[in-house]
């Protein structure tokens, strides 16, 4: 197929990756008070790890470097301990292990993620504008 918007594949992959990152951030924010996760322990903060993939382009061009989510892994910082003796998950000392999530950190992550998304959208827009302007060479 003709490839008019070159390099758009990498951008599409980056948009996808950022969207997944945003999903993970929203999951972290949603679980900020979850004291009992699936494994019975308090929820652990999740973070995404990006890595580069080579995306084969059309013959003759070098392979474009694109991005993908390598894995989503848990943040192994210690849980925050708060004193709440009446809590169901309190230990004998009355301390409850809360998720190791710092809401400010998550907000910053969210801002960074949405800005990166925006930047990639700008690339798409620019590629389209360039293609349309190039087509206007023929106009009189």
């Amino acid at each position: 197929m003709i490839n008019l918007l070159t390099g758009i594949d990498s951008t599409a992959a980056a948009l996808n990756a950022e969207r997944i990152r945003m999903d993970v951030v929203s999951q972290n924010i949603a679980n900020v008070n979850t004291t009992r996760g699936l494994d019975g322990k308090p929820y652990q903060r999740q973070q995404v790890i990006f890595d580069t993939v080579l995306r084969a382009q059309q013959a003759g061009n070098s392979a474009a470097q694109s991005v993908q989510i390598a894995r989503i892994e848990a943040d192994h910082r210690a849980p925050k301990m708060i004193y709440s003796p009446g809590h169901r998950d309190a230990n004998p000392q009355g301390m409850v292990a809360m998720p190791n999530i710092n809401i400010h950190e998550e907000m910053v992550d969210m801002i960074a993620s949405s800005r990166t998304f925006e930047a990639n959208l700008a690339v798409v827009k620019n590629a389209r504008a360039m293609a349309m302007q190039t087509l206007s060479i023929g106009k009189r």
Partner: protein
Amino acid sequence: MKMMVGQGAGVQLPTRIDTDAVPKISLPELSSLKSLDTVAGGGGGSFQNLLGDLVKDVSRKQAVAGETVNGLLSGKNVSLHQAMISMEEASVSFQLMVEVRNKLLESYQELMRMQI
């Protein structure tokens, strides 16, 4: 696009003229044009095929865009940006096709206006 029409005619020329009767034209441009045409045409070779491929390509892109939008609207695992990008690709390639058609028509009309 005028160039391309000329290119098509230039390639047709040797097949029509008896090569034994006429001394061989050895214009370097002609051979380069011929090689251009065979590259552009892929298998078929003619400019007509090239245009046909372009139209088919545009139609395929439109079909892909339709599919992704359908997937998005029916809740399949298609993201919004994928649908938008495929729609943009379809739109840009359609614009390209329209430009090619305009240029072709323009050069045809130019030829028709020519004083003989």
